[in-house]
């Protein structure tokens, strides 16, 4: 009897181990962010909030943080404006060159980031856009589109078109059908796609290092520079804040709520829906 129980628990145990394997190395930055040491040291010799104070008062950290949020938000909006119509066209229409278009959209995902970075460096440099926020947004949009396009296509393929027919026969024209039925039904997929687009930009380091320059430097670039120069434990603070932000986001979006939409949104974050 107990043997059977033990065998039943092996998958759970394995899952916990894998989770720890993935999570522990990341978690190590948390104690280090509260450290009193002048550089990375584990375990920390003492604890203080000093580096948090440093982060929140140092403009060389705050400016890249602001840049990151600006670039990521703009990237998210632009990406959605471009990839939503693209996904609709790709999933619903049959046209010449459909497969080629799909391949082209997926290209930024296949090309090594360094190659893309180099290409952007040459291309945007000629246009005088290196070191500017619009230049960063352009580069990040092209990297984010394939990610959100993939998510949107998967969502759209699972969409039951009879819902739109039902709306139309109920008296809704194409516009009202789209905004009252199609969009709300696809909401969870849209939210996921936007989030991926945001993160594709927010987490991106290679292109940022190549083209963002001093003025448009983003957080990942600043962190990379910082660890090369002085191994400043402020990086640990930034990392901890990022981990905290992501965890908060996931917890909030998985919280069961009365409204059905938020529930389906949470489901789609955890895995494919029904």
């Amino acid at each position: 009897m107990s043997e059977v129980r033990l065998r039943d628990r092996i998958p759970t145990l394995a899952a916990i181990l894998v989770a720890l394997f993935l999570f522990l190395p990341i978690l190590i930055v948390v104690p280090m962010s509260f450290s009193t040491a002048v550089s990375f040291q584990f375990p920390p010799p003492g604890y203080s909030m000093g580096y948090y104070r440093a982060y929140f008062s140092d403009p060389t950290w705050l400016a890249p943080t602001a840049n990151s949020f600006i670039v990521a938000t703009a990237t998210m909006v632009l990406t959605m404006l471009l990839s939503v119509p693209a996904a609709f066209a790709y999933v619903r229409k049959r046209f010449v060159g459909r497969t080629a278009v799909n391949l082209l959209i997926m290209l930024p995902l296949i090309v090594p980031p360094v190659v893309s970075a180099l290409a952007f460096y040459g291309y945007l440099g000629r246009a005088g856009l290196t070191g500017t926020l619009p230049g960063m947004v352009m580069a990040h949009v092209s990297l984010a589109i394939p990610v959100s396009f993939l998510v949107l296509c998967a969502t759209l393929k699972g969409f039951d078109r009879n819902l739109e027919r039902a709306a139309m026969i109920s008296g809704a024209g194409p516009v009202r059908t789209f905004f009252l039925v199609t969009m709300p039904t696809l909401r969870s997929g849209m939210v996921t796609a936007s989030m991926f687009a945001f993160l594709a930009s927010f987490n991106e380091a290679v292109v940022a290092i190549f083209i963002s320059g001093r003025d448009a430097g983003t957080l990942p670039r600043k962190m990379f520079e910082s660890i090369q120069l002085d191994a400043d434990p402020v990086i640990a603070v930034v990392s901890t804040l990022l981990i905290g932000g992501v965890l908060l986001g996931v917890v909030v979006s998985s919280m069961p709520r009365r409204r059905s939409q938020s529930r389906t949104a949470a489901v789609s974050l955890r895995g494919p829906g029904p």
Partner: protein, 377 residues
């Protein structure tokens, strides 16, 4: 006037310009009538329904509703209700909001909307589920919501596209009764698409049997059953014994290869040119002949190969000269055994004859006799 309420005039639909999904469909439907489109998949019944709804353009022909032509009206302008096989309820709206949707689109004020939705939910017996979401309901309940949504705005016509296809057998029967009751109460013109002959028989005022993009016959269920217009209709509605009968010199008799000479009733529209008939005898008209009552019956001797016991009735399956024959027995007395040789017979008046098209038209189906009968067997 005297014109029918909904008229389909020479409807044709081709998706590729070469093949016709619907060849030619014409029919008149009266106000308040319950008409079923019955046919196998690919017979054009759903395409016809889709054209009435307006989701597909009409390649040629007209759809006239109360005298006005619908062909160029978009679906949202047609004032037609529809119920889909997979329900197609809006997942982000509650049951009440789903039912209210068509009223919202028509700009009904909120209080009237709420009252009307309440009435509809009462009609389908779901008033206590108003605030639930569709996924919290069972299949049958979801279908009722879809029905309420299709009827709430008092459409001119309601279309039901295999609405019970996804339900299990018991629920299906229950919903048949339910839909029939609602149709009686609301009195709305209804078109019901199904491939289930039982559904068609039990619910319809008239059945239109579809085949290869055409309507083979449109008539009341019992007329379809007793006097099918084609052997395809006979084969699709109910069980059938189908034979080929040739005209002989003997008046009132036909020659059937497997059974010999049979007596047939005088055929109303006997035509000189017709030399062959499809002879149809329903299994329930066949009986076991014991003793000497055989004088007026067409009789034959057959070995019982299979006995199918349904509990309240029996079906005996055998074959005579390669022709499969089914006999339905409603009495379980004298239970026949498999392997037993019995004399069977049927009354000549229970024979239904369909004239065969003159030769030349028949090249495409060599042996329809065997194929249809074989499919049934």
């Amino acid at each position: 006037m005297g014109e029918a309420y909904l008229r389909l005039v020479g409807l044709r639909k081709s998706y590729d310009g070469v093949h016709n999904a619907v060849e030619e469909v014409s029919m008149d439907i009266e106000r308040g009538e319950f008409v079923t489109f019955l046919g196998p998949s690919g017979s054009g019944k759903t395409t016809t329904l889709t054209m009435i709804a307006g989701f597909e353009d009409v390649t040629s022909g007209q759809i006239l509703l109360d005298g006005r032509d619908l062909s160029n009206l978009r679906p949202w302008k047609r004032n037609i209700g529809m119920v889909f096989q997979n329900y197609a309820l809006f997942p982000h709206l509650t049951v009440a909001d789903n039912v209210a949707f068509p009223l919202r689109m028509r700009g009904w004020p909120k209080p009237e909307r709420r009252q009307r939705v309440g009435e509809m939910l009462d009609l389908v017996g779901l008033h206590m589920f108003a605030e639930r979401y569709p996924r919290e309901l069972s299949g049958g309940q979801q279908q009722r919501v879809a029905l309420a949504r299709g009827l709430v705005f008092s459409p001119d016509v309601v279309l039901l596209d295999e609405p019970l296809g996804a339900l299990d057998k018991n629920l299906r029967e229950q919903m048949q009764i339910e839909i029939k009751r609602i149709h009686r109460e609301v009195g709305i013109t209804t078109i019901y698409v199904t491939h289930d002959q039982t559904e068609a028989m039990t619910m319809s005022d008239r059945i239109a049997v579809f085949s290869n993009g055409r309507v083979e016959q449109i008539a009341a269920p019992l007329d379809i059953y007793h006097t099918p217009a084609t052997r395809h209709v006979a084969g699709f509605v109910g069980e059938t014994n189908l034979m080929l009968g040739r005209v002989t010199e003997k008046e009132g008799c036909l020659q059937v290869a497997e059974l010999g000479l049979i007596k047939v009733p005088p055929h109303r529209n006997r035509h000189e040119a017709v030399t062959e008939y499809d002879v149809i005898v329903r299994p329930e008209h066949m009986k076991v002949v014991r003793g000497s009552e055989a004088c007026d019956l067409n009789t034959f001797e057959m070995t019982v190969e299979t006995v199918i016991n349904y509990g309240d009735r029996l079906t005996l399956v055998g074959s005579k000269g390669g022709l499969p024959i089914r006999v339905r027995l409603n009495s379980l007395d004298n239970l026949p055994l498999e392997g037993e040789v019995l004399v069977f017979g049927w009354c000549p008046k229970d024979t239904h004859l369909i004239p065969r098209q003159p030769a030349g038209d028949r090249s495409q189906d060599r042996s329809p006799l065997r194929t249809v009968a074989g499919a049934l067997y």
